[in-house]
Symmetry: C2
Subunit: 411 residues, 2 copies
């Protein structure tokens, strides 16, 4: 038997599960306190639903489930590879949410504020930091186009991060319409914008020259590229500058409202700043996009945005929506690597009893449970080796029935 | 798009998730207090591991995952159906536990007492009460052959059930070796025993005549069947009677020890009784088997037993093991259908604010969060319809910013 877990997936030791459970329940409590409610959907979805979803590259990463019985035989006869599977593992929580909303919206208040904390699956090529099974931790508000939704998602996500002791972060925000408006004005075509955005996203890393080179390689109009380079001379792009550069200033006003309201509500416990180069990968975002960047550990630890057209596309009824997702696996790895200690964690004590006298062991263990998590063990053959192992496993102390008069601290 | 979840799987409404989360966290807390520690394994397993596992009929119910890319092309060319998949969804938590133990036992104390609460998958023909995705809730003790393990698993499982307000139950216990010993003495062959046990299991329902008919249909020796019928005249089978009927009385003494010790430790909060007809389905049980039967709702709500040979078979090193599994979906459906109320559940209050004044809404909501879970909403167009919906969804009350002077209770 192969004893390691499937490549790209993890077995978790008790201390790791303890941390994961603590983080999830702490985040969940903050979300619930703020009136969001948890929903649950299955990990397996109809393959047609998955295929029709707006998942971009993720559609190539779906784990497909083989048909069974007669249906499989027919599919094999047909010789059509696409016929082989009827189900697949979800690659994110947004498609299931869309389906769920279509089926259950009448049973829920509108707007619906929901939490999803669950596993998703992607057939990534296994490599460090890329998991094939991982947890996503999302809040979404469905059914409202008000900018107050963005304000709330930002405030609540920040609160959740602070609750798990991640305090060094800033929030970056942008509106896709701003960047696109500016690019149109430079002379790029509407159908080129996604590709231009991908290059523009690298501005911080490769500078204007790099962006210009990449756009030239992609064979976009020389005039448009030159025009863009001229605009880039006006950096840094503040929101006031954007008012001058854009014809439609509504998105600028919207961002100003969001930033000011977040600041009014949260004070100065974290920065919120406009960043024109923030794009975010997903194709379905239609307006605001935002990201939490750790200022202590590199990179983004949460991201989200508004996706007003996605649900309508599936259920044939326009439903504005906006969501924010905490990168759970990133946070778990940051906190476990930085030696984070779970606050107020119950101490673990072992009670060692004689095999013939289970009842005395149980009675002492129950007594100590008023204060500790207590595991009872029959007296081991090699006591000191056993105690060393307990200490390695994070035990605080032990009690030998018939010998100890207080908890012996392992040290 | 198909808006219902895949057949045999469920979408859960917020109130249902709340109950599921409450039950799981309450059970988890009891297990942890007793020194068991939660481990986690992925839902996807290597298909060869699954195929080689001792899962009986469950092996026909594995959701197989299609290979990807070049490997899939090669498999299709080979024309061999078995080559099509490299992974599968786990059908229980025992195979992953075995694999986990093989890989991690050196990092854990021995015996290892572990908790698993997680989803498993079976490609059942969809029908009422048969789920294709469901939660199992297991505790296991690996690495000890002591009968104290059985005692502890019974006590801790009973405690978990009591903690979620299931108090009307009795525990039935048997040892497979007893029934098998008796059947051998009657003249059945060793390789017939599993089949005879399946018929014997129905004794309560179809009576001795029914069992005799079924065994005759199965064409077992007439003498053996007659001999069995004679033994059955000596019902009810008490443990003392079994001492007379069996050559090897060690299992009888073992059961007496377990029953007496459980009673000594737990008093009379539940019954523990010997039941010779208790067999339990899994092929891998080697000795004691037990079951929790609800005396208020029909049928078994938990089950388990000792499986001393299973792990050795996989990892080539003998490891005694025993486990007890709570039927989580059964318990969830019993409690939701019987109108169970989560104790000390936070009351939900809605704060309604003017769209233009998010900050006031947020401030009031935060103030009320000292006591309630608070969801803020912009003032709806149709207030009374909106309030009705809140009530339907389990809200306790509401507050209109600028109008209310106390929480208005919905009723």
């Amino acid at each position: 038997m192969k004893i390691s877990s499937v490549k790209g997936t993890n077995d978790y030791l008790p201390s790791e599960v303890e941390l994961r459970d603590y983080l999830q329940s702490t985040i969940l409590k903050v979300y619930e306190k703020n009136g969001f409610r948890r929903i649950m959907t299955p990990a397996i979805e109809d393959i047609e639903n998955l295929d029709k979803s707006d998942g971009g590259d993720n559609l190539n990463l779906i784990f497909k489930i083989l048909k069974r019985g007669e249906k499989l035989e027919k599919a094999l006869e047909s010789g059509n590879e696409k016929e082989l599977s009827d189900l697949g593992l979800r690659y994110d929580l947004t498609l299931p949410l869309t389906r769920y909303y279509a089926g259950n919206k009448d049973k829920l208040p509108s707007p619906m504020k929901c939490i999803q904390i669950d596993k998703v699956y992607r057939a990534e090529r296994p490599q460090k930091g890329r998991l094939r099974e991982f947890v996503q931790c999302d809040i979404d508000i469905l059914g409202s186009d008000s900018a107050n939704c963005e304000v709330e998602l930002i405030c609540v996500t920040a609160q959740a991060l602070q609750a798990i002791s991640l305090k060094d972060f800033k929030i970056k925000i942008n509106d896709r319409r701003l960047l696109k408006g500016m690019l149109l004005k430079c002379g790029f075509e509407a159908d080129q914008l996604d590709s231009v955005c991908i290059s523009f996203d690298k501005l911080d890393k490769i500078g204007p020259e790099g962006v210009s080179e990449e756009l030239t390689e992609k064979e976009f109009s020389k005039e448009a590229i030159e025009s863009l380079m001229k605009v880039l001379e006006q950096r840094p792009f503040t929101l006031d500058k954007m008012s001058e550069l854009c014809e439609d200033t509504a998105p600028v006003e919207n961002l100003k409202y969001i930033i000011n309201t977040v600041k009014a509500v949260t004070g100065d416990s974290f920065e919120v700043e406009f960043d024109l180069s923030l794009v975010r990968g997903q194709g379905y975002y239609t307006g605001t996009v935002f990201e939490v960047e750790s200022t202590k550990f590199r990179g983004a630890i949460s991201g989200g945005g508004r996706y007003d057209n996605l649900i309508g596309k599936f259920i044939g009824q326009s439903v504005p929506a906006v969501g924010f997702s905490i990168g759970f696996e990133r946070i778990f790895s940051i906190l476990s690597e930085s030696g984070f200690e779970i606050p107020e964690k119950a101490k673990k004590v072992a009670v060692l009893y004689n095999k013939e006298d289970y009842a005395s062991g149980a009675a002492k263990a129950n007594e100590l449970r008023a204060e500790y998590d207590v595991c009872s063990f029959e007296m081991p053959k090699k006591t000191s080796k056993f105690l060393n192992k307990l200490q390695e496993c994070g035990y605080y102390g032990f009690w030998i029935v018939g010998q100890s008069e207080e908890v012996n601290v392992l040290s």
